[in-house]
């Protein structure tokens, strides 16, 4: 950052803690209100803040700035406090050093959201937050470095993928300075002289070596590298959003995107999950669920939902991406095999997926923007604090008629981003016939975009109840 005030702010060693403390306080308030407060979701801090405000603010900050929510993550504050007492001795298992576990957890959270109607249950929402705290303490209490962030945290994976679209990135200012650097503190950290070698400043816990780091994938914006660099050569820089998806260099701590099937799977769950998550909130999904339940002769929601997830997160991507890869191979003349081709172009769908998450979550955020006021007033009143006045339940947010054009704008922006990324990938892949490689993937993007637009105009229908056909 060259902006003087911001530069000083981001170099301030306690910035992260100062951002984490309020979020930790809010998290504790959400847990307590979720467990002890009203059972109605619109009256409870846990559900209102989680499913209306947190998600919306998260995607908007990712769009406008970067992964600042990982920077302010309250789970890490608790972990750092716990690590004063517990010093992990184990390394994260070699076989789990990939994204498969977190992809599965990401899909599981999306499934649980529908299965248990998390948006309508303060109790389950509070336990989800509490479970997250316990999982962080368990994983990072046993395993060294930021194992939870890099290999487990489904929320972090969402942020990592979405932040590939962000306009800010933590990176080296002048690569030549790094060439002459002998200490590599940005990755190794700094230790106090003496026999104990106490760490006085951590290096990157996610194994991202700044001179070879490309883009935001796996970067939590923790700023450890910024503080560790003895040459003041690392900062938060602006860049073209999604530019890191258009190229395929070897990235520190990650490797090449095109060789990471687990990352491609994460991009698939991110992109197709965006549509599925929104589909779960419109009327036609209940007709489909009812029909499927009738076909399967089941009265329970779980198998029907499981089938829907298999259809939309596995079968649909496999068919669409498989056909597109096959067409790229035979029509575009790409020399890559089918699977590497599909992996390479899957990242092109990330902007579209992010557009859908943005449209969905910003809708709830903006239309329910002020609902946090009466919910907070009500929570304070239950504690006997009358200073905030009596709850004004009529406070709502921005009218739907103003928010809907914004949603459509986000979807158009997402489609434009996907087409741009795919075009750049096609040019690098098939220099002779880039359009032939571009068109199949552009068609997939347009199909998904049309599905997203169709969903936007469906009547919203939020049910936790399940009626079998």
């Amino acid at each position: 950052m060259q902006v003087p005030v911001l530069r000083r702010l981001f170099h301030w060693r306690h910035l992260r803690t100062v951002l984490q403390i309020p979020l930790l306080v809010v998290s504790v308030a959400m847990i307590l209100d979720g467990l002890l407060g009203p059972s109605l979701a619109p009256k409870n801090l846990a559900t209102t803040l989680s499913w209306v405000h947190f998600r919306g603010a998260l995607v908007l900050v990712l769009l406008c700035a970067g992964n600042f929510f990982c920077l302010a993550c309250p789970f890490m504050l608790l972990r750092n406090m716990a690590r004063r007492f517990f010093h992990p001795r184990l390394n994260w298992p070699q076989k789990l050093r990939n994204k498969w576990l977190s992809v599965a957890l990401f899909a599981l959270i999306l499934y649980c959201y529908e299965e248990f109607s998390l948006w309508s249950s303060p109790w389950w929402t509070a336990w989800l937050i509490l479970g997250y705290f316990l999982a962080v303490l368990l994983v990072d209490g046993l395993f060294k470095h930021a194992s939870f962030c890099k290999f487990v945290c489904p929320l972090g994976q969402f942020n990592f993928v979405a932040s590939t679209i962000s306009p800010l990135e933590v990176k080296v200012r002048d690569p030549e300075v790094c060439d002459d650097c002998a200490t590599k503190d940005c990755i190794r950290g700094r230790r106090a002289p003496g026999p104990d070698l106490v760490v006085v400043q951590r290096g990157c816990e996610l194994a991202l070596f700044q001179p070879l780091k490309v883009g935001n994938m796996d970067c939590t914006f923790c700023l450890d590298c910024v503080h560790a660099c003895p040459h003041d050569n690392i900062g938060i820089m602006s860049r073209m959003p999604a530019s890191e998806l258009m190229m395929d260099p070897r990235r520190s701590g990650i490797g090449r995107f095109s060789q990471r099937k687990d990352l491609a799977a994460l991009a698939i769950v991110f992109s197709f999950g965006a549509l599925l998550n929104a589909f779960g909130m419109v009327s036609p999904v209940y007709a489909l669920e009812s029909w499927l339940a009738g076909m399967l002769h089941v009265n329970s929601k779980a198998p029907v939902l499981g089938l829907l997830f298999a259809l939309f997160l596995v079968l649909e991507p496999a068919v669409l991406l498989g056909v597109a890869a096959w067409l790229t191979q035979i029509w575009g003349g790409s020399r890559r095999a089918l699977l590497p081709l599909a992996v390479r172009y899957t990242y092109g769908l990330v902007p579209l997926g992010f557009g859908m998450w943005l449209a969905h979550y910003s809708f709830h955020f903006l239309t329910g923007l002020f609902t946090v006021v009466p919910v907070t007033q009500s929570a304070a009143a239950r504690l006997g604090w009358t200073v905030f006045g009596s709850p004004r339940w009529t406070l709502l947010g921005i009218p739907t008629r103003f928010v809907q054009p914004l949603e459509i704008g986000f979807l158009i922006l997402g489609l434009a981003g996907s087409l741009l990324v795919i075009h750049q990938l096609a040019e690098g892949d098939c220099a002779e016939h880039p359009m032939r490689a571009f068109l199949p993937w552009a068609a997939v993007s347009v199909v998904l975009w049309l599905a997203a637009m169709w969903m936007m105009f469906q009547p919203m229908d939020m049910r936790g109840t399940f009626s079998a056909g």
Binding site: G37, P42, K43, F365, T394, P459, M460, M462, R463, G464
Partner: protein, 159 residues
């Protein structure tokens, strides 16, 4: 019209579990033991003790019915009957309704009920969106006492 009874006479009581006195704590030692004990105690307390307080019993029964059935988006009528312990209608109460969707952040509905007969109150609601709704019935009794009941209106469908 069939009424659903929501008398609070059938209050629910929940037992609170106790932590056994020698719950393996002896095996923990030193500073870590203190932290672990605190975390474990907090978890057990949260798991066992954090339940919503049970509403004090009331001698006024609140019966309600909503129509049309099934409830669809558009107008709906909610009838509320108040009866005292002797089964006599409670007249002169003030009854207000608040309808919320199960998802937070959505527009709530408000309505004041009119007393159409002794102890019988009626209000009109206009459900604007399909989905699961809850109606909160706020009752202010003539003697100043306040009661609240929650009515679940699941699966409001579009026309």
């Amino acid at each position: 019209m069939q009424y659903c009874s929501a008398s609070s006479r059938s209050g629910i009581t929940r037992s609170r579990r106790r932590i056994p006195s020698g719950f393996g704590i002896e095996i923990w030692r030193g500073r870590r033991a203190g932290v672990l004990r605190t975390v474990a105690c907090a978890a057990v307390l949260l798991a066992s003790g954090c339940r919503k307080p049970v509403e004090p019993q009331s001698d006024v029964a609140i019966d309600y019915a909503i129509r049309p059935q099934p409830v669809r988006i558009g107008p709906a009528i909610l009838n509320v009957k108040l009866r005292d312990a002797a089964g006599q209608p409670v007249a002169g109460a003030r009854v207000n309704l608040e309808a919320d969707m199960s998802h937070p952040g959505m527009a709530p509905l408000f309505a004041d009920a009119k007393e159409i007969a002794a102890g019988q109150y009626q209000a009109a609601l206009e459900f604007a969106m399909p989905g699961d709704w809850f109606v909160l019935i706020h009752v202010a009794l003539p003697d100043g006492r306040r009661l609240e009941r929650q009515l679940s209106v699941p699966g409001v469908t579009s026309n």
